[in-house]
């Protein structure tokens, strides 16, 4: 895996008239994972969008090396297409996918239009897209939402493997995670 790291320096975020958090800093190097915890509305999703550059912070800056892969509530797959074709679009963009796809339990669903898939199945499909991207930095926004117990375990396994292979992983989730070596950052401490 290529050299990667992500660092937040004194970040502050504003949504509307409210400053959600400020003075937030952390640094993650290869193989490190961080869980952002906190109640709904504390700014976990906004923080992840700032980290991947889709949202401008009110103050502070983000430094990162290596491409970023993001999972959030939108799955970025064509609803009208069969799952196989919808994923094939991202494979043509990202390059051929590896064998980890099979573990996501999507093999039987490839002919079914994405629109007919359940929330959990769409989440698995989004994970397949993320794996295929081969990005060294993973940002996962509530990755367990909609997944069953086995799926939730699988996400954590995949994230652990990703870190063992030298990747960086930031997970925003209000649910407890059982990953090895997972650091935790309570966003509420930086609340205004």
């Amino acid at each position: 895996m290529q050299e990667c790291r992500i660092a937040a320096v004194d970040l502050a975020c504003r949504r509307g008239e409210r400053v959600l958090f400020s003075g937030l800093s952390f640094q993650l190097g290869p193989g490190e994972a961080l869980q952002i915890t906190g109640p709904n509305g504390v700014g976990k999703s906004s923080l992840l969008r700032i980290l991947c550059g889709l949202l401008r912070p009110l103050a502070g800056s983000v430094e990162h090396e290596g491409e970023i892969g993001l999972i959030d509530e939108s799955h970025a797959l064509d609803m009208a297409l069969p799952l196989g074709k919808a994923l094939a679009f991202w494979q043509r963009i990202d390059g051929p996918a590896d064998d980890r796809l099979a573990r996501l339990g999507l093999a039987d669903l490839l002919d079914i239009p994405v629109g007919y898939l359940s929330t959990g199945q769409k989440k698995r499909a989004a994970l397949a897209r993320l794996i295929g991207q081969n990005a060294p930095v993973w940002l996962l926004d509530e990755p367990l939402n909609g997944l069953d117990a086995q799926g939730a375990e699988l996400v954590q396994e995949l994230a652990e493997e990703h870190c063992r292979a030298g990747g960086v992983c930031v997970i925003a989730s209000h649910q407890p995670l059982a990953m090895q070596g997972l650091r935790s950052l309570a966003l509420a401490e930086f609340e205004q």
Partner: protein
């Protein structure tokens, strides 16, 4: 990079041209329906139909180009496609430039083809038909660029689709005046001026579209 854009263009075309209910067929049928209804509405006055038919074709083309606006950009923002492309270093500007091309291909050439039966319905002669086709060739790329700009700017707004249609119409007036104007002035031999001005409007809109659209999409993320 260009291979990725080619992949995106192929997806756009599959969605916009062949997209079944939401494909290129609906604007073409709408366009032909206008050409068919117009003689019924004004009566069987052949010289009048031939004289005004060109203008009707232009108005119908403009309105047909508005039909696909609501599914041009909004669904891809909603589903997170633009976010994922940005993360992969594919700029919004490049995606929008590709989208303008795909949008034009989805309605420009089909409308130019449909103009032939429409001209027959309206009793337009071959010389005027040629001027109309050249005018559409010069003007529809500008309509496509304008449509994409407006679709980007209204994405994420409630009732954005209706608003997009209303915004496109006044901004498309110059294209309509020059494009359809090439017909009126053709008798005096100065139709080329109208064509050249329509083409110039198109070039300006095409040049602006990627940057205006890209900025609009980035601004929508902050909202």
């Amino acid at each position: 990079m260009s291979a990725r854009l080619w992949t995106i263009l192929r997806r756009d075309l599959a969605r916009l041209v062949l997209g079944g209910r939401s494909g290129a067929l609906l604007p073409v049928l709408f366009f032909l329906a206008v050409a068919m209804l117009y003689p019924f509405a004004v009566g069987p006055d052949a010289p009048m139909l031939a004289k005004t038919g060109g203008g009707v074709i232009w108005v119908a083309a403009l309105l047909a180009a508005i039909l696909p606006l609501d599914r041009l950009i909004e669904p891809d923002i909603e589903a997170g496609f633009f976010d994922q492309w940005t993360l992969r270093g594919i700029s919004e500007e490049a995606v929008i430039a590709v989208r303008v091309l795909a949008h034009w291909l989805s309605f420009g050439p089909p409308l130019m083809l449909a103009t032939i039966p429409a001209a027959a319905l309206l009793g337009i002669d071959a010389y005027a038909l040629r001027t109309i086709e050249l005018g559409l060739l010069a003007g529809t790329p500008g309509l496509a660029a304008l449509g994409v700009i407006i679709a980007c700017m209204t994405s994420g707004l409630r009732g954005g689709a209706a608003l997009a249609g209303l915004l496109v119409i006044p901004l498309a007036v110059p294209l309509l005046i020059f494009g359809a104007g090439s017909l009126a002035s053709n008798a005096s031999g100065s139709g080329e001026n109208g064509l050249a001005l329509a083409a110039a409007c198109s070039l300006v809109l095409i040049a602006i579209a990627p940057f205006a659209g890209g900025a609009a999409i980035r601004a929508a993320r902050e909202g």
